[in-house]
């Protein structure tokens, strides 16, 4: 491998590793690790609250028809 190749690989790997460490530092500084309980519930809101499931098989066609009849 040429010297240019070595230099390239070094900078790429240094950048890749550095990005992980920078990200960790950014998260620590930004308080991302301070309130885990709030973090875990951050995907829920009033429209899709805890305790409600948000996925189901589509109803059988017979059920659809009976609902339409009603």
């Amino acid at each position: 491998m040429s010297m240019l190749g070595y230099i390239l690989v070094f900078f790429i790997l240094a950048g890749l590793s550095g990005s992980v460490i920078w990200g960790l530092w950014w998260a620590l500084r930004g308080g991302q690790f301070s309130n885990f309980a709030a973090g875990a519930t951050s995907i829920f809101d009033d429209e899709e609250p805890q305790g409600y499931a948000t996925d189901a098989f589509p109803p059988a066609k017979d059920e659809n028809k009976s609902e339409e009849m009603k």
Partner: protein, 543 residues
């Protein structure tokens, strides 16, 4: 809750409202309209990614079947050069990896990123352009491989013109994803966002590195090329597919069940340990190769450290679903995602163990490795992506899935297919590995011999030692190579059978996706919410 008469169109609410209720209602309306805006902004690009992904899934499965049949019936389709195994098999791998898996993952990532950042996708036309370019890249790359222009390096067989298009397209998607992250609403960065952020940020880096060092004047050859090759080969899974799959799992399991992750602390620990250790693991593919021993040892250490993120993730997935397994009966998304999460645990444990020389030496270059790869990219990643698409698509099209029966057909054919494929290829690969090392003795024989002479405990240890470490010394008589090949044939026939089962499942899925895109399913009035009032479903949540 107070009884409120809410009309989402006109904003009319009950005539006796206290300020708190009014604020809540307004907040709900704001969230609903925000969610609708996000889904509307993502609709065209995400559905384009999904539709293309399913198209490539079908092509990839046909190529897989042809490759699989050729392994036990080598005279099948040999009259044309482009149909020979050396071209069809890499074309299958690339179509599945860059056509299906990448496009399904990118579509899911974009939608998740917008949902979690709570902002619409800006200029979605650019992402549509990226999806078109990605399709052109996959098409031209696959045509190039079938025409004999493969680079010959696994995972990066596509010619340079195709990889360049893929890189530009991915860079566009990544920039859009990171821009969305930059515009996010203030608040917590959910663990799925970390995983998505990781895959979008790291993959272009890894991809351009391997391209520069294998496809340009900076090209390296010989041993360094293999080191770089497997560093990339493993990182495609580790820093691209795995983070996208885990991001979807961490969002979908809690969301579908309606309860937060069991331990958010563990989920964060899992992400950061994956970020720190996965990147080291690639060189364990070179055990026994002409590379410095320290390189392989460092890689094995990195692979063993992967037990930390895997155990934390497995614990979290299992404990979140624990006591709620009943929901699996009612949610197609959860079925696929939980299957994928379980496969992730198994394949990761297996992968870490396979990095050890003692396991790697007998099983490398056998069908055992193929079983492992399929469990990873299909049993884990693909199943999670199926689950994600079952969740996302109705929210974008506004239509329900058209047939519960076809969803069940899809699930059971692919679940049984991949499970059977994994088991048969693992067993066939083990037999192949031991036979290649010219040992006719199985573990049972060794156990019997050693325990009779050395007692139960030391005899068992000696038998295991012989089985894994001393198999080279047990060369009672050489086994001809062709005899080893013949012994694999029954397992390869079963593999083709499982492939047909999986293909049936894919056809069912493709039909469902097409019907959903054409608006065949029931129209939903609430475009983003799929609450159900089924009694059984409610009871399963209350357990």
């Amino acid at each position: 809750m107070s009884s409120l008469n809410i009309d989402m169109q006109r904003g009319v609410v009950g005539d006796q409202l206290d300020p708190d209720s009014m604020a809540r209602v307004l907040d709900q309306r704001q969230q609903a309209s925000q969610r609708a805006l996000i889904d509307a902004s993502c609709k065209v690009p995400v559905l384009l990614f999904y539709g293309s992904a399913v198209f490539w899934l079908l092509i990839g499965t046909v190529l897989a079947l042809i490759s699989s049949i050729k392994l036990h019936s080598p005279n099948f389709l040999t009259h044309e050069a482009w149909l020979t195994f050396g071209r069809v098999r890499p074309a299958h791998l690339d179509v599945v990896a860059f056509g299906w898996a990448s496009m399904a993952g990118l579509g899911t990532s974009l939608w998740l990123m917008c949902r979690l950042c709570r902002v619409p996708l800006k200029w979605p036309g650019m992402v549509v352009g990226a999806a078109v370019l990605w399709n052109v890249g996959v098409l031209s790359g696959t045509a190039g491989v079938l025409a004999g222009q493969s680079s010959g390096i696994e995972w990066i067989e596509y010619p340079f013109y195709a990889t360049f298009m893929l890189f530009v397209a991915f860079a566009l998607v990544a920039v859009w994803g990171l821009m969305t992250f930059g515009r996010r609403q203030p608040g917590h960065v959910y663990v799925s966002q970390w995983y998505l952020f990781g895959s979008m940020f790291w993959f272009p880096w890894v991809y351009i590195t391997v391209q520069l060092l294998t496809n340009t004047p900076l090209m390296v050859k010989g041993t360094p090329q293999e080191s770089i090759h497997w560093w990339f080969g493993h990182n495609v899974l580790g820093v691209f597919f795995t983070p996208m799959g885990l991001a979807a799992i961490y969002y979908l399991i809690p969301k579908v069940i309606g309860r937060p992750i069991y331990s958010y602390y563990l989920s964060i620990l899992g992400f950061w340990s994956l970020a720190l250790f996965y990147n080291w693991a690639g060189a364990h593919h070179l055990v026994g190769g002409p590379v410095p021993a320290w390189l392989v040892t460092v890689s094995a250490v990195g692979s063993m450290m992967m037990f930390i993120p895997v155990i934390t993730t497995a614990l979290n997935h299992h404990m979140t679903t624990y006591k709620h397994f009943g929901v699996l009966r009612y949610s197609p998304t959860l079925r696929f995602v939980v299957f994928g999460a379980m496969a992730y645990t198994i394949v990761s444990f297996q992968g870490s163990l396979m990095s050890l020389r003692i396991f790697n030496e007998p099983f490398h270059f056998t069908h055992h490795t193929i079983a492992h790869a399929h469990l990873g990219l299909y049993g884990f990643y693909t199943m999670v992506m199926f689950g994600a698409m079952y969740y996302v698509m109705p929210r974008l099209t506004g239509h329900e899935w058209s047939s519960a029966r076809l969803i069940r057909v899809h699930f059971w054919t692919v679940a049984i297919g991949i499970a059977l494929m994994f088991v048969t290829l693992s067993i066939g690969g083990m037999i192949q590995g031991f036979e290649l090392h010219q040992s006719r003795q199985g573990l049972g024989d060794l156990m019997r011999q050693h325990t009779q002479t050395d007692g139960l405990v030391s005899g068992s240890i000696n038998a295991l030692s012989d089985f894994f470490g001393g198999f080279k010394a047990k060369q009672d008589q050489p086994i001809p190579f062709l005899a080893v090949v013949r012994d694999t044939i029954p397992w390869l026939w079963i593999r083709s059978g499982t492939g047909i089962l999986i293909f049936i499942g894919h056809m069912a899925f493709a039909w469902l996706v097409l019907a959903n895109l054409l608006g065949r399913g029931e129209r939903r009035t609430g475009p983003t919410l799929f609450h159900t009032d089924a009694d059984g479903y409610r009871r399963s949540l209350e357990v």
